[in-house]
């Protein structure tokens, strides 16, 4: 490990221990250094996965036989002559599910920072953090029961 990363680790441990961390240019640079260092292996992993995917997609193009016929290249429809296109209308229910998912998913994202910091609160702040989130979940549940009553989640 080089001197810079060692220094930055010590720095980072100290700044976690101190309550307040002043963000000046040097600190931001050190922070970026640490952060990026832990993401380099992920980038390497992604490169490996892309390589695997590309090689396997190409390999059967090279080694496989190539005898196209109009029957073989047509769309499979259980032996019946395919009619129309598949890109047509489908149930609006799926759009409803997707929209509701986005709403709920965004609300879940708000819970993550709360959950990470929750244990670090003390005394009255802890109760405050708890009550705050209960109010938030309460609002979420009101919306949830509203969509249930409206029948947006009814499948038949």
């Amino acid at each position: 490990m080089d001197v810079l990363s060692q220094a930055s680790i010590i720095f980072w441990q100290k700044s976690f221990l101190s309550d307040f961390c002043v963000l000046n240019n040097l600190n931001i640079l050190l922070f970026l250094h640490i952060m990026l260092e832990s993401y380099v292996p992920i980038l390497l992993m992604m490169a490996g996965a892309v390589g695997f995917a590309v090689v396997n997609t190409i390999v059967s193009k090279i080694f496989g036989p190539k005898k196209p016929s109009s029957e073989k290249m047509s769309t499979y429809e259980s032996g019946v002559e395919p009619y129309g296109t598949a890109h047509s209308k489908f149930s609006v229910k799926y759009y409803m599910v997707t929209m509701l998912f986005i709403l709920f998913d965004i609300e879940i994202v708000f819970m993550y920072p709360w959950a990470v910091t929750f244990r670090s609160f003390e005394g009255a702040m802890l109760t405050y953090a708890l009550v705050e989130m209960m109010v938030f979940i309460g609002l979420l549940l009101i919306g949830y029961f509203y969509i249930l009553r409206k029948g947006s989640l009814k499948w038949n």
């Binding site: 992993m45 036989p65 598949a86 997707t98 879940i108 499948w155």
Partner: protein
Amino acid sequence: MWIELLISVIKIATVLTVLLVSVAYAVYAERRVSAFMQNRYGPNRVGYQGLLQSFADVIKLVFKEDIVPVKANKPIHTLAPMISIFVALTTIAVVPFGHTIELFGRIISLQITDVNVGILYILALTSLGVYGITLSGWSSNSKYSLFGGIRSSAQMISYELSMGLSVVGIILITGSLSLQDIVLHQNGWKWNLVLQPLGFIIFLVASFAETNRSPFDLPEAEPELVGGYHTEYSSMKFALFFLAEYANMIVASTVIATLYLGGWQFPYLQSFGLPPMAVSILQVLTFCAKVAFLVFFFIWVRWSLPRFRYDQLMNLGWKVMLPLSILNIIVTAILVSVLK
């Protein structure tokens, strides 16, 4: 600097190789276990007891014709299986398969990388998996594929909600998103399985739905949709979907083991007074044993339970699992603040 990079590359190569070989044997295990459950033999000819069957299948698929239907959207049709396998292989980057090991006077952490947003990374990548399946369904321009793709995307995003919510309970207990921290927190008897029983059940069921495994395998329900989203795929492109499905199953098992079953923790191993090298190796083996058991559990469930009907599936996701996971958060938050 360069030596760190080299260590990373070695770790990545090892993990990818082990993952891909385990995928081959997960396929073999599925075929043998299902055969055992249905009182037949299963593959037992290629190699001793059929142990080389999966490799023979891969070689066969390489020499098969790569058929792309004329009406299909070619670039997306090619891209879709690549997305699926990419997501399945990269998710494992943040999962710790051991604590540390001392080799050649150097302490190496047994994890590809310990990012401080580990859980978010896993959730983000698994939700990208929806693209592979949806795009394959849409681009094939076949009705079976399209319905498989749409069903799958609706199913996966519905269960992603309960999955994301059930993990909040663990974060409340641990106070960190890093998977190594979560494992370190589960020492002794304090596995999250004991502390979060409801969260565990929700996460387990959601993992089955996210990996499109039975009883949630509606995207490829054979009687109605032929092959589902991969109806129009052949040769290695089909194999990539197949590999991705089993890789997802193994990765989901590693994540469940890490989050709820103590990861590499072997209860009270430190008090036995073993040499550090033996401890490290035992921890990795413990992790592998937990993952193997979970993979077997996935297979066991598939050959025991019938498939859901689509309305039952959506009702379970939205009307049972979602309220239960919110209840889990409320109870955990209150208990954490009281017991603190």
